[in-house]
Symmetry: C2
Subunit: 312 residues, 2 copies
């Protein structure tokens, strides 16, 4: 999987993943009105979200390698929300995009098997197989240790999928447990990083990177640079850029010398571009797709300039 992701990143010249975390309040009024004309319920809300997502994907799919769907924003709309999740994923795939399910699943081994079947593998129905929510890559929480990771590794191997494991998250309180210093002289997140190396060692692609990557927040630039060194084979999924406060200079430490090694997630800044200070006078809310496109191009340029400036 990692070779496919990297090939796409190189082809699109964009280490960018567009986060599709569609809160209703992000959706332009005209589009909401259209869907809520007759009835306002979970079903029509999910339709509005799907419509919004599809327009954004249509507008930016040729510029980026991947989209990331934060499943919480679909689960909150119940079954219709998860239908929109599936249909968004399937539309993104049809447009050649790699789909990352930001699901942060985790459990003991036998249950992790069920999650892995749901998102990376196949569900067995006696002699038949079916797929529940097929993703290319998902995010996974490491708190339960190796047992809870192994089933995902097996499906990564078998079905050419990938996972990103939470190492150092972008939120303000991520340090409460992740930064605890252990008696071995390593912080908890460094111990997780060490295990990420181990978990990923049998899934290294031709590119030198593993299909077992890590989530490291853009809001912790120092740790990002440190973790780039600590996990030389792990691709880094870097959230927290843009609306959460991460700047271009903060993310440069995540890249290797070839400008690879990290993929930067931006959600709100792309989805809500049409009402940002920068774009709201240039595009009407009906042109929200064009505004998202302009924002992606803008972000690509900034990252390129940053990478060139850093000599990467």
């Amino acid at each position: 999987m990692i070779d496919r992701l990297i090939a796409k990143i190189i082809e699109r010249e964009a280490p960018i993943v567009a986060g599709l975390d569609p809160r209703l309040e992000y959706i332009p009024k005209f589009l909401l009105d259209k869907h809520f004309r007759k009835e306002t319920n979970l079903d029509t809300a999910a339709n509005a979200i799907l419509d919004f997502n599809i327009k954004i994907i249509e507008s930016i799919h040729d510029l980026i390698p991947a989209v990331k769907l934060q499943i919480a924003y679909y689960e909150m709309y119940g079954l219709p929300g998860l239908r929109a999740f599936m249909e968004t994923a399937s539309y993104a795939k049809s447009k050649g995009l790699i789909v990352i399910g930001d699901v942060k699943r985790n459990d003991i081994g036998s249950t992790a098997e069920a999650y892995s079947a749901a998102y990376l593998g196949y569900t067995s129905l006696g002699e038949q197989l079916d797929q529940a929510f097929p993703m290319d890559i998902i995010t996974v929480n490491p708190y339960l240790g190796t047992d809870g990771i192994r089933p995902f590794l097996e499906d990564c191997k078998k079905h050419k999928r990938g996972i990103f494991i939470l190492v150092k998250t972008s939120n303000p309180s991520s340090g409460e447990f992740q930064d605890l210093m252990t008696v071995e002289g390593m912080k908890v997140y460094e111990k997780v990083a060490q295990m990420v190396n181990q978990w990923g060692q049998n899934l290294i692609g031709n590119c030198g990177y593993s299909s077992v990557g890590a989530v490291v927040g853009a809001t912790y630039p120092q740790q990002l640079a440190e973790l780039r060194q600590l996990m030389p084979r792990a691709y880094l999924l870097v959230p927290g850029f843009g609306a959460q406060g991460g700047q271009i200079k903060d993310i440069l430490g995540g890249f290797d010398r070839k400008g690879l090694g990290a993929i930067i997630n931006a959600s709100r800044s792309i989805m809500c571009a049409y009402r940002s200070q920068v774009w709201k006078d240039k595009f009407s809310s009906e042109e929200f797709g064009l505004a998202s496109r302009a924002e992606v191009i803008n972000m690509k340029d900034k990252i390129h300039q940053g990478l060139m400036g850093s000599g990467a």
Copy 2:
């Protein structure tokens, strides 16, 4: 919420939660055959699961206070699986049971809000509110710290719900990160326990326990007893009993002197009672509900004897 849970535990004289984690292979052949007669797909599989769950709930609902639904086993059957999840929860509630969603969700604050809306609170649709997957209590992963917990606490307060936070999980590799010794002289799971106390302090019920509980595996009896002391206000949800290896003597340390303070989860041993060594000669597979009932009564007796023997 915790007062309601404890009242039910006392009323039913059973600190037991029945785990409904229905793998297809747990379902008796006659029931599978009935649903797969025409077609085998996610939809008919979900119908078989729902049918199985309803029969089990019908057979044991008067004996126990709560059921726990492990969502992974529903997600793996896609949208139909999640429909079965909802319908099982709703049927269990109609039978007076408290429903615990074992979802182990976790994310940064804004996303945790979305998860909390999905399971504990309400989804806002402009001026209307709706519910996605309404649970009474859910399980939550603590790796992201306070930000990722706060939205759940708010909904617990506002809507009288509860959460159980993963502290020491039942799986063999739980120690990899959870048991790391920090320079402060506490293990990571003890630091989590400390935070559970803090997070739960504004949610303490009349019973003296908080609606913020903790998950502690039956497979680690020593830590269970230690954590009972470390978190005097936290109710303990104890998985790992039965099929995972936990014995009666292993769980006694989770209880206080009144025989409260812990609720023991059993999944496979109840769901698959009909084919266990103990019950398979007494009940036919058509009588799987009766076998589950016999197993619950058996488990209650054993726990009572254990608690009396320990002087609780």
